[in-house]
Amino acid sequence: MFRFLSGFGSYWMLLGRVFARPEKHSIYYKQTLKEFVSLGLRSIGIVTIISFFMGAVITLQTAYNTENPIYPTYLIGLGARDSILLEFSSTIVALILAGKVGSNIASEIGTMRVTEQIDALELMGVNSASYIILPKVVATVLFNPFLTLISIVTGIGGGWIAGTAAGVVTSEDYIYGIQYAFIPYYITYALIKTVIFAFIITTVSAHQGYYVDGGSLEVGRASTYTVVYSSVTILLFNVILTQLLLS
């Protein structure tokens, strides 16, 4: 409990240092571009693959659960669309990224800590927290909405391919269904959640890495804790945000 509270305190203090005024803009700009590639572009593959198959499964399950002649089959498209928009592409994708990007950030920063690279930055007079973490926050907060959009598109596409291939829904019905009673606000909702989840993933994992004390064993432990902490925080905020945004 004490560890939790002191961790909470040091998290906010670290955030304070991260958002101190950057020292040299050109360097931060360059770092941010690098992070776009390593945290953003390199996640497109996994997001695409997972979204495609999850879209397929969601569509098939919706179809088999509504196998009743009184339901029109276009409802399958509608159901798949809403599941993907509301939950899958924001929350589940965030949980997957907490595993991939979060542990990556924690172990990268943790390694910098135990190999004294952070000390080296501090010694030069660089605000190490801001130099290392700010570009990652900016990159993920700006880029993850694109990942969510990609996930929505490939998820719905995966559903279309699986649904028509399995013969549970015709192409016309599915396409009609995904347009039927469409609420554009759901996309806004998904994107708002994504931005907040991106912030959580990056800052929680950076905090875990930044305060590693010890050696490579502790770095490994920090990246495991990162996945646990950021997943739980995401799930908690998922409830809060859903209540705030949809009620």
Partner: protein
């Protein structure tokens, strides 16, 4: 000049440094010696402000360092270079980018000026044609030399080296020791080196401080060290059989 007054430091109630005072002069290679775990690294990190103050004062050219705010500290920090025990090169950057980093961060030099300075520093430490290698592709001795190049890129007035030759063969050790001594004189830096290597002590020891269990036990130079009658120091200096024989034959 660096002056430390009554430095103490504890971790979780265990005293690691006990009331150490010392003066380190410019243009000289000042050595801190002591066996493993005696508190050398903690003392050095304390001097440069990487560890928080428990007690004591640190002056850089008569400015009280540990009383300053982040901004004022930064001004002094720009004049510091440090070689860490594990080199601490940025592993996402090439050799060239590592050395260039402080220049990019703190100067407004043009690209060409920066490259010239980087090449000058790398040549100074004898690293040639390796600009585009990453730290993981270097040997331990090369890493130390690149780290020295990075530390001197901004022409610091204070240089700190934590065990510059640990893990190196005797010959490479001497190369690094000579290098540190030469650039200290060249740039008239105040250099402080942590070491437990007796070779460097005898090569470089213009001023030596001996720490045992966090306490300063002895202070002097390389000529005095052989004649001292501090018992703990003698145990440290004449730890190996050869040195003991030598001491006996001197008598």
């Amino acid at each position: 000049m660096i002056r430390a007054e009554h430095i103490s430091k504890s971790f979780d109630g265990r005293e690691v440094l006990k009331d150490i005072s010392a003066v380190f002069e410019p243009g000289k290679t000042n050595l801190i010696i002591g066996k493993s775990g005696s508190g050398k690294t903690v003392f050095l990190k304390r001097l440069v402000g990487l560890l928080d103050v428990d007690e004591g004062k640190i002056f850089y050219n008569d400015v009280l360092f540990n009383g300053l705010d982040f901004k004022a500290k930064k001004e002094i920090r720009k004049e510091m270079g440090m070689l860490f025990q594990g080199s601490a090169l940025f592993d996402s950057m090439t050799v060239e980018e590592n050395v260039m980093f402080p220049l990019e961060m703190f100067t407004n030099m043009s690209g060409e000026e920066k490259r010239d300075r980087v090449n000058f520093c790398l040549e100074r430490v004898d690293i040639i044609n390796s600009n585009h290698l990453f730290p993981s592709e270097l040997s331990g001795g090369m890493k130390k030399r690149v780290a020295i190049a990075r530390a001197i890129a901004l022409k610091p007035r204070f240089l700190f080296c934590d065990e510059p030759n640990s893990g190196l063969d005797p010959k490479t050790s001497i190369v690094i020791d000579d290098l540190i001594r030469e650039i200290t004189v060249e740039l008239n830096m105040t250099t402080i080196v942590n070491t437990h290597d007796m070779n460097s002590v005898m090569e470089n020891g213009e001023k030596i401080i001996f720490i045992e269990e966090g306490e300063k036990c002895w202070e002097g130079n390389r000529d005095e060290i052989l004649k001292s009658d501090c018992k703990l120091l003698n145990e440290f200096v004449f730890a190996n059989a050869l040195a003991k024989q030598l001491k006996d034959s001197l008598k």
